[in-house]
Symmetry: C2
Subunit: 434 residues, 2 copies
């Protein structure tokens, strides 16, 4: 019997890969899940790590721990560098390889700089815990540096936070930043006034949250503006430089620039298909199979999967989870000699949070804004978190942030304790403390 067991290789421990693995857990297959990281990251809450509400450990779980009870699943910390689809092989980083009967590629996506990769250093994105820790460091250091300059008798300069891209991540970042500046930090600084910080949200298109219904976009805009965010639409960034961002002829001084625009699928997509779309996503069949290679499935943000209406499915955690489950079910069906079923996407709605009691949500035809949308957002995200421990930790931190108006995870950790970028040479002077 064990000779005839099929082997499945899953690439990626995000929502797609993890749900595919769970669906194959304790089924008559041998599964290897490969990821470059040892942990699953709950990406929808990364912006809360970047803005010091949550700790990295609160929204991440070791993949081995999540899958420990499935003895037919092996986890490998390694990086996939290529495929030989005809020989059914996955090439790993050091030249070793894995063969498979079924391959599930769920390698995800990162941000796109639209051909300007050099912008990344001055405008990092937010796709991993490392990204979030780096953004947190830059945001907190901006205030610290201004305070130090003021203490040294110098001009603290402006505090401008520029968020590029007004999808859900950009909206959530902008809302969280204004909340830190106006609600959390004012009591902590003595020489600068954090409430004077500017948060500027730039969107290339005509409206924010372009994937949302019109009325929710408008509501989100109003909620952001009432919090004090400077929202600019039809403002496509033409250049990112140290200390500033350009939109056409306009120069916007920027202390910290955060990138939340564009989607670029994992480079593994191009190794699987010659017909990837502009974002590098792989076109798949109704069963999420790779055309010409029914034994290969592509799911999650890497797949250009279409719904029954012919439109591209949204790049959400929910989509990846459903696709992972469906793919596992199809593999099990085929092993049992049953036919595959086409993937059917169940629209669970859209949700973006903006601030304290501020959010927008669509569930089916129901549109929510403000407090009710916010409460739904809190509840749904707590439930979606993987693991009881993470839920409790996130709840404690949210309660603390809400009631104490503090941010507990305000840590600047780095090899270099103090980074002084874009600063003129400091004058040598003496002053009296206090």
């Amino acid at each position: 019997m064990s000779e005839t067991r099929k082997s499945v290789v899953i690439i990626g421990g995000g929502f797609g890969g993890l749900y595919a693995a769970k669906g194959l857990g304790n089924k008559p297959v041998d599964v290897v899940l490969v990821d470059r990281k040892n942990h699953h990251t709950f990406q929808p809450l990364l912006y809360q790590v970047a803005t010091a509400v949550l700790s990295p450990g609160d929204i991440a779980s070791p993949i081995r721990g999540i899958l420990r009870r499935f003895k037919n699943i092996e986890v490998l910390l390694d990086e996939v560098v290529g495929f030989d689809l005809d020989r059914r092989e996955v090439h790993l980083r050091d030249g070793a390889g894995l063969t498979y009967d079924y391959l599930v590629v769920a390698a995800g996506a990162t941000h796109s700089y639209f051909g300007h990769a050099q912008w990344e250093a001055d405008a990092p994105g937010l796709k991993s815990l490392e990204d979030a820790i780096e953004l947190r460091r830059r945001i907190l250091l901006a205030f610290e540096n201004a305070e130090r300059r003021a203490a040294e008798g110098r001009d603290p300069g402006p505090l401008n936070f520029v968020v590029v891209g007004a999808g859900p991540t950009g909206v959530e970042l902008a809302g969280a930043l204004i909340e830190i500046a106006r609600g959390v930090l004012p009591h902590d600084f003595r020489r600068i006034d954090p409430t004077q910080a500017h948060v500027i949200l730039l969107e290339g298109g005509p409206r924010i949250l372009p994937a949302y219904p019109d009325d929710l976009s408008r509501s989100a805009l109003e909620q952001l503006q009432s919090l004090g965010v400077d929202v600019r639409t039809s403002a496509a960034v033409t250049s990112v430089e140290p200390g500033q961002v350009r939109v056409g002829d306009m120069v916007i001084p920027s202390t910290v620039t955060l990138w939340a625009a564009g989607v670029a699928a994992s480079p593994l997509g191009k190794m699987l298909s010659n017909s990837t779309d502009r974002a590098g996503r792989v076109p798949v069949g109704p069963d999420l199979g790779l055309p010409g290679h029914p034994e290969v499935f592509v799911i999650g943000d890497l797949a250009a999967a279409k719904g029954e209406d012919g439109k591209l499915l949204p790049g959400l955690a929910e989509t990846a989870q459903q696709q992972g489950k469906a793919t596992a079910a199809n593999i099990v069906r085929e092993i049992h000699g049953e036919p595959r079923k086409p993937f059917h996407y169940r629209d669970m709605g859209l949700l973006a949070t903006i601030g304290r009691q501020a959010a927008v949500a669509r569930f089916g035809r129901l549109h929510l804004t403000g407090f009710t949308a916010w409460i739904s957002w809190l509840f749904i995200h707590l439930m979606l978190l993987i693991g009881f421990r993470n839920r409790v930790l996130v709840l404690v931190n949210w309660a603390w942030a809400y009631f104490a108006y503090q941010r507990g995870a305000r840590l600047i950790t780095d090899v270099e304790p103090i980074t002084r970028t874009h600063e003129a040479e400091a004058p040598t002077e003496r002053r009296k403390a206090g």
Copy 2:
């Protein structure tokens, strides 16, 4: 009135500096606290971050947040590089300076490599959150790398964790490591057997926990051995190299080496005094004042302060806290025209934890071991943590670790996702998954 307000500069946001600042909070003085980090770190629990029980954010609090309610205290993220004691000036990193009427230096200590600074790369110590994150990365990667080698059909090699130094930190690290290997990880790996990992604790002196009473040293040794730790006393390390440690002629292969030996006071000590002791500590008077400069106080691990018995006070959080409070009180007394009081150290005992229900403790003449010592340790450390939020988070994580036999904070975060140190070139081969 404000013309006559005295200014106090405090260097360091550890236990000493923080308690000095709190003691001066809302008193008629102007205080500036300078630290290179923006957060206070609860050092006694750093080893639990290194061993993935706790997250960095659980044991750290932003210094500004701790002191936010004291409007006479300013916090500055900066680095002190020197002093001009005659002009009463502190020199900061970029050339700017602070003048003071009183100076409290609480810059702490780090590990000493006994003149072999080059050992640090292969045997990092544990003094900061960054250190703890790096140790955690090395420990977790050791298991991951062995599993990957096994999956590639290669010899996974031995899994040896060598801890150098059997003071409280070394004992706690060794106990936590064996617990991970034997209690936590066995269900997570498919190809290696984590219970086969060796934890070797090396102590140069004749007994572990040399600062503890004899019977508690013996008990700690027995408790460690019953957990499976290989404890070797009178084993002074003569060389640390990539992949191995030497003790005289003996070569001990080491997958991960952790340094928990020796104390080296902050280099600021030598800038304050020509008569520092071997560990670089500054001799101080009965009021913790710097001889010849009564307006300068040196406290915490940087001070070589003596008790009434003429013995050096232990380098504990407790000592630093008491000294910080006493120094603040003396400054306030002097401002009010009252004489200073000499510092009196109140011995609160010694505590070291070893594992589940395993610890040793001395309170006055009472010696505790095993479960009672362990429960005391838990309770006291929870109470000592700064901030309600941290207490709740640590409690949740401890409960999780205890009842679920898991380590929630098992994150490997780094710029390089996979580090392959000390590995031979990998053979190119193909294998069947599963």
